[in-house]
Amino acid sequence: MNLSNDEVKHIASLAKIGMTEEELQLIGGQLSQILEQFQSLNTINTEHIETTAHPTSLNTVLRSDKITNDKADEGMLDNAPKKEQDFVRVRPVLE
């Protein structure tokens, strides 16, 4: 299971992680090696086997639509890389 450079580039672009050529080479090799370990799963017959997304039985949990964290903004903006007044400043999205 060998990932090509283009495949790794494509995955990195989907994951929105910038990569240098060296990083692509290194990580491509490592990912291929890891994927190789996954091949064992193909030996298992999983026809008609349900999937498990969660380990315990889950119920839908509802709550009344009541604000309980009205002070949540206090201190939150302090973590913003860029802010202006009470807003987070972002880079232009539309040119």
């Binding site: 910038g18 990580i27 990912l31 298992i44 889950l58 201190g75």
Partner: protein
């Protein structure tokens, strides 16, 4: 003060002295902080020490104790892994991405501990975003194993395990996604418990793999583990996956009696080529349990060998989704030398994440990407069902399962860091419990060439009572006590 070294106390010992006013919470906290100052330049278990706020909490604990309103953890100093949010205290996840992140809320586990009057000492080192098995993936520094400073403490809760081992705190809380509490507990000679999925609220635990993550205690002994588990467990409206089962007073069930307890030994955990010292140590633990009247039988969990592959598909897949929130816009590291929004995003994630985190995000992205979803993610989820069913079947015949916690003792620093596949193999015995969502505990089983090794007990969902009871009985019978490392101050 009656004890010359309050830092060396267990929770129950300290509680007794605090309740009798023979020791104050401030004296205890000062002693522990002194211990941190004397030892942490060697161990590096703390990312942040919050001396000032710890002493303030201790003062508050003393006033609670003065009114005789204290509970077991009142005035007891602890460390929290640095991926557990703490109001006003940086919560870095040992990542450049969150190096300066200061939460404005506490994780529910922290809220609960604070409400008992426990004293937060600071934040423990970890592999970046809890991804790793050696704590070498921390962006700040690696933590050292107190039993041998040239070896790793395990991971990802390396800080929390090393700090309990080095007695820099009376207990700590970590998180366990694939063994991150139990594996370092085994390496450092402490007790590490991963509760049933949903037993402890995940609110405020920085998400890695949401269907696997669980907060758990690291302690000097089993009784302390029971105390801390009781304090942090319970349903939380802020975590829709937290369960509603009652929280028993776990410590009340520790009566040392395992007569008739049915213990299964899964043959898949004792494979050819495994470290014979580890196998022998676990075998001798099994013998100890048997001598105490437990009924031991061989069992089979046939899909065990596939658990690692399942985990390294599901955990990275969930991580790739969870970590997409780090975009450099609302919080966290932001790459400044870019005006274009996409370029900024890619550069923020390129420079904010370390190699292992990037590797897992890419792996997860690949497993979820068009054309590969069925072959990897869906397949892994199906095999996850089979692994769960293995446990369900076995627990019809036995009460608990006994197995090694880790394939080896702690390995030298730098030994596996450049080989991800070798590093991943460390989790081979701990991963199945996360996949099935069952509780599991690692307790010290002894020393192999002066290095600690743990034995693991696993039980069905919500069997913490039985697990702790069995672990405690074993601990009493094995009688090696807390495995103190010899750290030169």
């Amino acid at each position: 003060m009656t004890s010359s070294n309050p830092w060396s106390l267990t929770i129950s010992e300290a509680h007794r002295l605090l309740a009798r006013k023979q020791l104050s919470a401030v004296e205890l906290t000062e002693s522990v902080i002194q211990r941190i100052k004397q030892t942490d330049s060697k161990i590096n278990s703390f990312i942040t020490v919050t001396e000032e706020s710890a002493l303030k909490s201790a003062l508050n604990a003393d006033s609670i104790l003065a009114r005789d309103e204290g509970s077991l953890l009142t005035g007891i100093p602890f460390q929290a892994k640095d991926n557990i949010c703490t109001t006003g205290i940086t919560t870095t996840c040992a990542s450049k991405m969150l190096e300066n992140f200061v939460p404005n809320y506490d994780a529910t586990a922290i809220t609960k501990l604070k409400s008992t009057g426990a004293v937060l000492l600071g934040k423990g080192n970890l592999d970046e975003f809890a991804m790793g098995s050696s704590t070498e993936n921390s962006v700040f520094f690696p933590t050292k194993n107190p039993h041998d400073l040239n070896t790793v403490p395990g991971g990802s809760s390396g800080g929390p395990a090393a700090s309990v081992s080095a007695e820099q705190c009376l207990f700590s809380i970590g998180s366990d996604t694939g063994g991150s509490v139990r594996q370092p507990a085994s390496f450092c000679g402490v007790v590490g418990l991963k509760p049933t999925y949903g037993r402890v609220s995940r609110y405020g635990l920085v998400a890695f793999a949401s269907s696997l993550d669980q907060i758990g205690p690291l302690t000097k002994n089993v009784q302390d583990s029971a105390f801390v588990l009781e304090a942090i467990s319970g349903n939380d409206p802020k975590d829709s996956t937290s369960n509603t089962e009652d929280v028993p007073a776990y410590a009340e069930y520790l009566d040392g009696d395992v007569k008739g307890l049915k213990i299964g030994v899964p043959k898949e955990y004792f494979v050819d080529g495994m470290d014979s010292d580890v196998a022998n140590t676990v075998r001798s633990s099994i013998k100890t349990m048997e001598d105490m009247g437990a009924v031991v039988s061989d069992v089979s969990l046939p899909h065990t060998s596939h658990a690692l592959a399942v985990y390294y598909i599901i955990a990275p897949a969930e991580a790739s989704s969870n970590l997409s929130r780090y975009d450099g816009v609302k919080f966290g590291y932001s790459h400044s030398e870019s005006t274009d929004v996409w370029d900024a995003l890619e550069k923020t994630r390129q420079h904010g994440f370390g190699p292992e985190v990037k590797r897992r995000i890419l792996l997860g992205t690949y497993a979820l990407s068009s054309g590969y979803y069925d072959a990897y993610y869906l397949k892994a989820q199906q095999v996850r069902s089979l692994i769960r069913q293995d446990f369900v079947k076995v627990f019809k015949d036995v009460d608990i399962i006994i197995a090694p916690s880790t394939p080896t003792v702690a390995f030298p620093l730098g030994d596996k860091i450049s080989d991800p596949v070798q590093m991943y193999l460390n989790d081979i015995f701990t991963i199945p419990a996360n996949i099935a969502g069952i509780p599991a505990i690692s307790i010290p089983a002894g020393l192999i060439k002066d290095m600690p090794i743990g034995v693991q007990l696993m039980g069905p969902h919500h069997s913490e009572k039985t697990l702790l009871k069995a672990a405690h009985a074993y601990e009493q019978a094995a009688n090696h006590g807390f495995l103190k490392p010899s750290i030169q101050e």
